[in-house]
């Protein structure tokens, strides 16, 4: 990807954060932040166009539900379930039961 050098002015606290990044990582830090913000603005604008209201409370509740589920599903649980299904299908034991994850 082509990259361009740009000069921007930022508040002191932002400058300090960028300076604290590992060597060569400040640009990646800014890039990630800009893309994340842009994606959010894109989504919010689309919902405004559609007339679908987004509420802070609703999103906070949705995040709490997702994070709770994520706490119950560490990476090891996903891997264990995939491995168990692979073993089942290799053994011809696809018995249409959800394996205990």
């Amino acid at each position: 990807m082509t990259k361009r050098r740009v000069t921007v002015s930022v508040p002191e606290d932002v400058a300090e954060t960028l300076e604290q990044q590992p060597k060569g990582q400040a640009s990646a830090y800014v890039t990630e932040a800009v893309r994340g913000h842009r994606a959010w603005e894109q989504f919010r604008a689309e919902q405004a166009r559609r007339g679908v209201p987004l509420t802070e409370q609703g999103m906070a509740e949705a995040r709490a539900r997702r994070y709770e589920l994520r706490s119950q599903w560490p990476a090891e649980r996903y891997e264990a379930l995939r491995e168990q299904v692979r073993r089942n299908v290799e053994d011809g034991q696809a018995d249409q039961q959800t394996p205990a994850a």
Binding site: E32, G36, Q42, E46, L69, A75, T98
Partner: protein, 134 residues
């Protein structure tokens, strides 16, 4: 957009057919969970097979336009189902009763993501499912 794959945020939420249709219907119970994922600097996903199913069911041109806009968002990942996964696909097809749901399960396990659905009963127990309110 020209992100390289390794730069892309993780996919942490999968929309199945019912969730995608809920989005098109303007359900806040779908839009807010998707919004919070994006606001959390992550991506949501939908399998290509699910997209095909939704396109078949969404006959209103406005809904189809909204779906196209959703799929073009940089925070949306349209996910493949790989040929090498045919055995697992068959397993989950048998369990869920539908191929599109099977692709959603496989994608959720691959990405370690949760499934947003209005058809939680189809997945049985023991999968990372977030149920939409009835």
């Amino acid at each position: 957009m020209s992100w390289r794959d390794e730069e892309r945020p993780p996919v942490t939420l999968l929309l199945d057919r019912s969730a995608a249709l809920g989005y098109l219907a303007g359900s806040i119970h779908v839009t807010e969970p998707v919004g919070e994922v994006i606001n959390d600097r992550q991506r949501f996903g939908i399998t290509a097979v699910t997209v095909a199913e939704v396109l078949e069911l969404a006959t209103d041109p406005k809904d189809r336009d909204d779906l196209h806009v959703l799929l073009r968002m940089e925070s949306c990942a349209v996910l493949p189902t790989w040929g090498e996964d045919w055995q697992e696909l068959g397993y989950w097809r048998g369990l869920t009763g539908r191929a599109d749901l099977a692709t959603t399960v496989i994608a959720a396990l691959e990405h370690r993501a949760s499934i947003l659905t209005g058809e939680g009963h189809r997945y049985g127990e023991g999968l990372p499912v977030i149920d939409l309110p009835e």
